[in-house]
Structures are given as structure tokens and as C-alpha cells.
């Protein structure tokens, strides 16, 4: 396309784009290739001791969360789609709110609520006069506890996709099935769910990816999984190659999910009926059922959002005055400025790649961008390891080179600096930003470029007067989404942060690890509030679609 001059094979823009894309793909490629140099001794040791635990716990966690999120999300979606009950339209977006809470924060809340010294057990003991060991109470700090916590915040993935899929099913399907003698229940089982299956599976796969990626929850609950194992191998054993290989193994599991998810998503289009749909009329069940439905939705909302929020507010009320000191605000500033910087840098990268693709599809650039986009599916721990390896190598080589030539030591130039963090964030969150930019750019049709030119604009004029105004909303949401994601990110920040550099997420994690849950409430609350922004954005987008 000759609208904005397409770059020649060796033009400056192309080299910049190519270099950026290759660098971003590097961590993932390095982790993958680390498998080619197996560390037999370390593997032997891991296999003898903890490897089986890692594999089994990670798998049980992912499948438990997947199953739970699938059942909970699908049933909630069906309730909100098919039945009319009090508050139904509110629940349609209220039930998305748990997405705002990082899993590790909900884990802290429930630990505070449910453990031995927590309000629930204390009340039980006081009411019945029990002492320690007199009664059985489920242990929240367990694999089962971790699965429950993750289900509570991850079911919205399934809920959202399943509800959209149900909504796309036309009234005539329901009527056709009724006219063939099927009851509404049979319709649900035989038509609605099978038709929504790709969407449900896609949501389930997303929830399972998040479960594989979780670090904060399992670490806090003392459950050994891949992510905690990688962390321990890296810091405890100091074996970076082995950590990379563990990461590669975890990556294989996640890649399986990515393929499965993409396969499901392709099918969604196939199942989608192109014709104009008439939305299904909702069933109005009997009085008691209506209130049962209401209670069900309320219960999930309370467990997934209101209760943890109340717990945090309560703690923040207790500890707020002493927590909100100068240090806290410095922390908040650290977090917000880091997140904003990362969001802006990632936006620039995303625009670079999106425009490169729009002007001229170039396989040499597309390939590394596709690899880098996988970063979003990968656990922060894996990305951190993948980032650290090349940066450390670069630092060491540069140091050695300069030592040999000039006798100066550069020390650690990149690893252990904010650069390393920003780089890892770029790998992890490029896909989020790129998706927004590409969606926005797709709305600017090539003919609009031409219209702008034929009405007297230069290529730069087309960019500033046609593209930018039309992209504004997409660019804004790209920045916002990445901003919040970075704010919530825990494991990569934990591994890569410069010495003594704290963020809200890190502080929350450290305080909670020190059993100072109440003190952790203030930073956690700030993360939660910020996390609400994208959820609101999301529900508004969905409402607009429905309207």
C-alpha cells in the first residue's frame, strides 16, 4: 500500500521493528532452547525430591480450577441468560467483578478470615467452648484451598464467554427445539451447551492458563508447583539453567492450553450464526426459584468479591493510620510510575508492530511478533527467567570485554535494573496492547487513508488527523489494561526488581508472608481499586455490544 510509503527492505523503520520484535521473542525462544542442554545432575535431584510434586500439584491445580470455573461460570451464565429474576441485569456485570482481585490477595483475605486465629474459628470456639484440636475445620492453606481461591476469581472468564455464546443463540433455536418436543432443560443440555461449547472451553482454557501461572497463592499456601519450584531453583539453588528448563517444561503445558484455546476460538466463529438474531425471551420462573437464583448469584458475588473487599476494608480501617505513611506513598508512586512507563513503552511497541503489519505484511517481522505475543499466556516466572538469562549474559560479556580492553568493570548494567523489569513486562503484556491497537486500526479502513490523501493531507497528516482521533479510545484502553496488569504482576517483579525497589504488589506479598495480613490491606486495596477499571471498561464494552 502506497498510502504511507511502505518501507524498503533495509529502511530504518524496518530495522527498528525487526530488532524490537526479535528482542521480545528472545526470552521465550531461550527458555525453549534451554531444554537442549539438560542438567542431568539437577534433574536427577529434582526428580528424586520435588519434581513429581511440582507436576502433580500444578496439574491438579489447573484441572481443579478449570473444572470449577467451567461449572460455576457456565451455570451462572445460563442463569443470567435464561431466567428473569430480581437483580438479573445487575448480576450480568457484577459477576465480572472478581476479575479485579489478584488471586494472591483473595488468598490473604480468606486466610485471615478462616485460619485458626481468624474471626470465624474464634467465634465457633467461643460459641461452643471448644479448644484447639477439639474440632475439624477445613485447612485453607492447602491445594484444595488454592483451587477454591482461584476458582472464585477466575470463573468470570467462562461466565463472560459462555454468556456471549448463549446470547448469540437465536430464539428460533429454542422454539424449534420446543416444537420437536424438548423441554427447556433438555434444550439446555442438548442444544445450548453443545453450541456454546467452544466458548466455554475457551474460557476454561484461559482460567487454566492463569492457574498454571499463579505464584502468589500457591507460594503463600505452601503448595509446591512449577512456579514456586522455578523460583526456588533460581534463588535457593542458584541454578539458572535448571530454572530455565523447569520453565520450559511448564511452558509445554501452557502451550498445549494455548493451542487448545485457539482451536476452540476458531470454532466459536464456526458455531456463530451470521444472521440477525432475535434475542431469546427470558423465562420467568416461580417465586421460590427466582429467589434461589438470586441467592446463588449473590452468594458467588459475596464470596468472590464482597467478602474479600469487606475484609480488606476492615483491615485497612484498623491499620490505615499507621500504614499510610510517607513510605506507602513512595511505594504507590513507584508502582504507578513503573506501570505507566511500562504501559506507554508497550503501547509504542504495539503501534510499531501494528503499523508494520498494516503497511506491509512482512513474515520476517510477523514471526517474532507472533512468538512475543505468546508471552501473555506464559507465567510471569517463566518470562522472568527468560529475561534474566540473556540480560545476565549480555552484562557479563560486556563487563569481560571492557575489563580485557580497558580494565574497567561495568558490573550489572541491565539485569537488576528497571530496564530488566520493563523488558519482561513488554514480553508479558505486548499481546494485550497489540490487540487493542490492532482492533482500533482495523476500523480505519484503507479507503479512509486514501480519502484523507485525496482531500489534501500528507501521510503524516493522515496519521495525526484521521488515525489518531479514530484510535484514541483503543490507545487509551491499551494503556489502561497494561497499566493495571503491571500493577498486579507479582512473580516477574519479585525476581527481576532492582535491589530495594518495592511496588504495591511486592509489599503486599512481603507483609502477607510475614503474617502481617492486616498491614497488607492498604496496598492490596489500592491494587484492587485500580483493577476495577478494566473490569468496568469490559462490562461497558459488552453492554454496548448488547444494546
Amino acid at each position: 500500500m502506497a498510502i504511507l510509503r511502505s518501507p524498503g527492505p533495509f529502511s530504518g523503520w524496518r530495522s527498528i521493528t525487526l530488532t524490537a520484535a526479535t528482542l521480545l521473542a528472545l526470552p521465550i525462544l531461550l527458555v525453549t532452547f534451554s531444554l537442549s542442554q539438560p542438567q542431568w545432575l539437577v534433574w536427577q535431584h529434582l526428580a528424586d525430591t520435588v519434581l513429581l510434586d511440582y507436576v502433580l500439584n500444578s496439574l491438579m491445580l489447573a484441572f481443579g480450577v478449570g473444572l470449577g470455573a467451567m461449572l460455576l461460570g457456565t451455570s451462572l451464565a445460563w442463569c443470567c441468560h435464561h431466567y428473569q429474576f430480581p437483580g438479573r441485569s445487575w448480576f450480568e456485570w457484577l459477576l465480572l467483578l472478581p476479575l479485579a482481585i489478584p488471586a494472591y490477595i483473595i488468598a490473604y483475605c480468606y486466610t485471615g478470615l478462616l485460619d485458626f486465629a481468624g474471626p470465624l474459628q474464634t467465634t465457633l470456639r467461643e460459641t461452643f467452648g471448644w479448644g484447639y484440636g477439639d474440632y475439624w475445620f477445613p485447612e485453607i492453606r492447602s491445594l484444595g484451598g488454592a483451587i477454591t481461591m482461584l476458582i472464585l476469581v477466575l470463573y468470570p472468564y467462562v461466565f463472560m464467554l459462555a454468556r456471549n455464546a448463549f446470547r448469540d443463540q437465536s430464539q428460533s433455536l429454542l422454539e424449534a427445539s420446543r416444537s420437536m418436543g424438548q423441554s427447556p432443560q433438555q434444550y439446555f443440555l442438548k442444544v445450548a451447551v453443545p453450541m456454546a461449547r467452544p466458548a466455554i472451553l475457551s474460557g476454561t482454557a484461559l482460567a487454566m492458563m492463569e492457574a498454571f501461572a499463579d505464584f502468589g497463592t500457591v507460594e503463600y499456601f505452601g503448595v509446591s508447583t512449577f512456579t514456586t519450584g522455578i523460583f526456588r531453583t533460581w534463588f535457593g539453588m542458584g541454578n539458572h539453567l535448571a530454572a530455565a528448563q523447569l520453565s520450559a517444561l511448564l511452558m509445554l503445558f501452557v502451550m498445549g492450553l494455548v493451542l487448545w484455546e485457539q482451536y476452540s476460538r476458531r470454532k466459536i466463529q464456526y458455531y456463530y450464526q451470521g444472521h440477525k438474531r432475535q434475542t431469546q425471551a427470558r423465562t420467568r420462573p416461580a417465586g421460590l426459584t427466582r429467589w434461589l437464583l438470586f441467592s446463588f448469584c449473590s452468594l458467588v458475588l459475596a464470596l468472590g468479591f464482597l467478602l474479600p473487599l469487606a475484609m480488606l476494608l476492615h483491615w485497612a480501617w484498623l491499620t490505615g493510620p499507621e500504614q499510610l505513611d510517607a513510605r506507602f506513598w513512595r511505594l504507590a508512586w513507584n508502582s504507578f510510575s513503573l506501570a505507566l512507563t511500562a504501559a506507554l513503552i508497550i503501547l509504542l511497541l504495539a503501534m510499531l508492530f501494528a503499523y508494520a503489519k498494516r503497511l506491509k505484511s512482512d513474515p520476517l517481522i510477523n514471526a517474532p511478533v507472533t512468538v512475543a505475543k505468546l508471552g501473555y499466556a506464559l507465567p510471569g516466572t517463566v518470562i522472568a527467567v527468560g529475561t534474566m538469562v540473556p540480560l545476565a549474559w549480555f552484562d557479563k560479556s560486556l563487563d569481560a570485554l571492557l575489563q580485557a580492553c580497558f580494565g574497567i568493570s561495568t558490573g550489572l548494567l541491565l539485569s537488576g535494573t528497571v530496564f530488566a523489569l520493563l523488558f519482561a513486562y513488554a514480553v508479558r503484556f505486548l499481546a494485550v496492547s497489540l490487540h487493542q491497537v490492532e482492533t482500533g486500526l482495523a476500523r480505519v479502513k484503507p479507503s479512509m487513508d486514501m480519502a484523507g490523501r485525496s482531500l489534501g493531507l500528507s501521510p503524516t497528516g493522515v496519521f495525526s488527523q484521521v488515525h489518531l482521533p479514530m484510535l484514541r479510545a483503543s490507545l487509551l484502553s491499551a494503556v489502561l489494561l497494561v497499566f493495571v496488569d503491571v500493577l498486579k504482576e507479582l512473580p516477574a517483579t519479585l525476581i527481576l526488581r532492582p535491589f530495594n525497589f518495592d511496588t504495591l504488589a511486592i509489599r503486599t506479598y512481603e507483609l502477607a508472608s510475614d503474617e502481617r495480613l492486616a498491614d497488607a490491606a492498604a496496598p492490596a486495596l489500592l491494587i484492587l481499586v485500580a483493577g476495577l477499571l478494566p473490569v468496568i471498561l469490559l462490562s461497558r464494552a459488552i453492554n454496548k455490544e448488547t444494546a
Binding site: S447, G452, R453, L455, G456, P469
Partner: protein, 355 residues
């Protein structure tokens, strides 16, 4: 005003347009007609400056704007363009869209020009709307007004009516022609719809596989098409094989007929005779018989698909009182006054321009 000389456009090694010559006088409306993928949109884009040309030259007002390795930027050409999808900017109102190309004028003048254009395209009072709140036909007229606002030397229209429904198309085409003529605008449009082309064009060209087969006024293209392909594209009809016997006579399955005009071929040459539906009439006394295959009711008349004993097909339009059922055999007479004859080997018109 606009002149294309031997223009070729290539994508890589693939020549999508070649040997393209075209001249458009000031105030004329030209139209390129062709099936999709024939290269007509590429020609339009090259004239607008969005596509480099690999051979030949494009002149505007006797000034060269495109030649191989050289191209005046689109924004410097004073060419307005109306796009198939209208390409209205969704973030601007109708008035802002129309004023987009005249931003450098003082505000008051902009407003005046926008108002007069809104009146011209009969959209008074809709200036504050956004384009998505308009119907397809209204959007089309906004796009036209926007392209006309900077008073371009030449207006290009790329399938301007194809995204509208059929009923709207005809009336809008007439309306747009009226507006262009009233304003004395030189315009070139491309379309694949011949009725659209007929209702718009002063000059018409038929394109096929990157070549301009014929360029002239619509009546000429209809009555004296240069080739069978042009004739086929321009109007319905059926071809039958005949042989030139010499002495102004042809013979074939349709019988032995005298010709009104002279032909340029030697006797014994195989020819294709194109018969339009109105040239085939029923005549009970005729020896030429055909069997009715299908009867199609068209409101004002019937269109019959007929089969000659030798297997060749004919089309015939007949008044509503001529009612025949499939399978029935009927006698036919042919009106060969304006009959078209083409060389069966290369499809060229063989009639001499004698009348």
C-alpha cells in the same frame, strides 16, 4: 483534460493493467465497465496517485502527473474521490466530513460551502449528524459532497452505488449525474453494473483482463461493439454459428439470410451471429423452427429460451399475448437489420462501417 497513454500497472511481475489508453474531455463523465478483478479499480487508483505505473504516462491538464518512477503525491493532484464504502470519517460530523478538504479556508467560507453542498445533495439540516446515523443513500451523498468540496479538477468514483440496494441505485445514479452535470464536473467512475454505466456515462469503456477493449459513447458500444466480448457485456443476446457465403449472404442452422451491411471477411469464413432478444420474432409461416425450452415472465413481456434443431440456443422477447409452453415448436423470423457479426476465430467485429 485527463489523458492516459499506454499505461501499465504491475504488482511484482503480474501486470494487472496494460496498454491502457483513455482520454476524457473537460465536463465529460466517463465510465469504466468490467467484471470484478479486471483492473478497473487499479486504473482509478493510479489516476488518483495511489498506485505507481510501470509503463506509459498519465497527464492531467496537459501536465504529466504519473510516469514510471515518478508520481505526484495524491494530495497535490486536485482529484476528488468517492469510495465504494464511502470512507466517511466516523469521528466527525457530516459537516466536518464535508469541510475536511477545505480546512485552510476561513471558517465562514467553509460554512458557506458546506451549506451549499448540503443543499446540492439534498441533505439540508443533517450537518450535525454523525455518518452512522445516516442511511446508505445519505452517506453516499455526503461522500460525494465531501469529494466535491475542494472543487477538484476531476472526480473519481469507485463503484459508488454498489453498497446500496438495487432500487436506490438507479434513482441515485440519475441524481448524481444531474449534480455532476449541473456543476460541470469532469468525472470518471468504475462499475460492474451496466445499467448504472448507461445512466451515468457520456463515454463508456469496457475492460477485460487489464485491457480497455473499447472506449466510446454508450450508443456506439451498443450498436457497434468492437468485439463479441464487448457486445456480450453490454447487452443480453445469444450467438449462433454461421458461415459467410459471399455476396452478402450468411448461412447456418438459422437458415440462409442476406446481410444489410458489408463485411470485411472472405467467403467461407466462420462467423458468430449475435441475436438480441428483440431481433427474434415468432412467425408461424417460417421454415425456421425452434422448440421452447423455458418461458420467463418479465412483467412487460415474456423472454423465451429457444432451441434450434441443431442444438443452438436463442433468446426471444415476445409480447404477453404470445403464450407458448415448454416443448412447443414455433416458427421464427429474424430481424437482421442491425445484426452483429463477429469472426468466430478471434471475436472481432467484421461489419464494415458503411451505413
Amino acid at each position: 483534460m485527463l489523458q492516459l497513454e499506454h499505461v501499465a500497472i504491475s504488482y511484482g511481475t503480474n501486470k494487472v493493467v496494460q496498454g491502457f489508453d483513455l482520454t476524457l474531455q473537460a465536463g465529460e463523465i466517463g465510465c469504466l465497465l468490467g467484471a470484478s478483478g479486471c483492473g478497473k479499480t487499479s486504473v482509478l487508483r493510479a489516476i488518483a496517485g495511489f498506485e505507481p505505473i510501470s509503463e506509459g504516462r498519465i497527464d492531467l491538464h496537459e501536465k504529466n502527473v504519473s510516469r514510471p518512477g515518478f508520481s505526484v503525491a495524491p494530495e497535490k493532484r486536485q482529484i476528488g474521490m468517492v469510495f465504494q464504502d464511502f470512507a466517511l470519517f466516523p469521528h466527525l460530523t457530516v459537516a466536518e466530513n464535508i469541510a475536511f478538504g477545505i480546512r485552510s479556508l476561513p471558517k465562514a467560507q467553509q460554512r458557506e460551502r458546506v451549506d451549499s453542498l448540503l443543499t446540492l445533495v439534498e441533505l439540508q439540516g443533517l450537518g450535525d449528524r454523525y455518518s452512522h446515523a445516516l442511511s446508505g443513500g445519505q452517506q453516499q451523498r455526503v461522500a460525494l459532497a465531501r469529494a466535491m468540496a475542494p472543487k477538484p479538477d476531476l472526480l473519481l468514483l469507485d463503484e459508488p452505488f454498489s453498497s446500496l440496494d438495487t432500487e436506490l441505485r438507479g434513482s441515485l445514479a440519475t441524481q448524481v449525474r444531474q449534480i455532476l452535470k449541473q456543476q460541470g464536473i469532469t468525472a470518471l467512475l468504475v462499475t460492474h453494473d451496466k445499467s448504472e454505466a448507461f445512466s451515468m456515462a457520456d463515454k463508456l469503456g469496457v475492460m477485460d483482463q487489464g485491457r480497455l477493449l473499447q472506449w466510446g459513447c454508450p450508443a456506439t458500444l451498443f450498436s457497434r461493439p468492437a468485439s463479441l466480448h464487448v457486445a456480450d457485456f453490454i447487452g443480453k443476446g445469444a450467438t449462433v454459428k454461421v458461415e459467410y457465403l459471399g455476396d452478402g449472404r450468411i448461412a447456418g442452422d438459422v437458415g440462409n439470410w442476406p446481410l444489410v451491411s458489408n463485411v470485411s471477411v472472405a467467403s467461407g469464413t466462420s462467423l458468430s451471429l449475435l441475436l438480441r432478444p428483440h431481433q427474434v420474432k415468432t412467425d408461424p409461416t417460417s421454415e425456421l423452427k425452434a422448440r421452447v425450452l423455458r418461458q420467463i415472465f418479465r412483467g412487460a413481456d415474456y423472454l423465451y429460451e429457444l432451441q434450434l434443431p441443431g442444438g443452438e440456443l436463442l433468446l426471444s422477447s415476445m409480447p404477453l399475448d404470445c403464450e407458448f409452453s415448454p416443448g412447443q415448436s414455433l416458427g421464427l423470423s429474424l430481424d437482421l437489420t442491425n445484426a452483429l457479426l463477429f469472426d468466430a476465430a478471434n471475436g472481432h467485429n467484421v461489419l464494415l462501417e458503411s451505413q
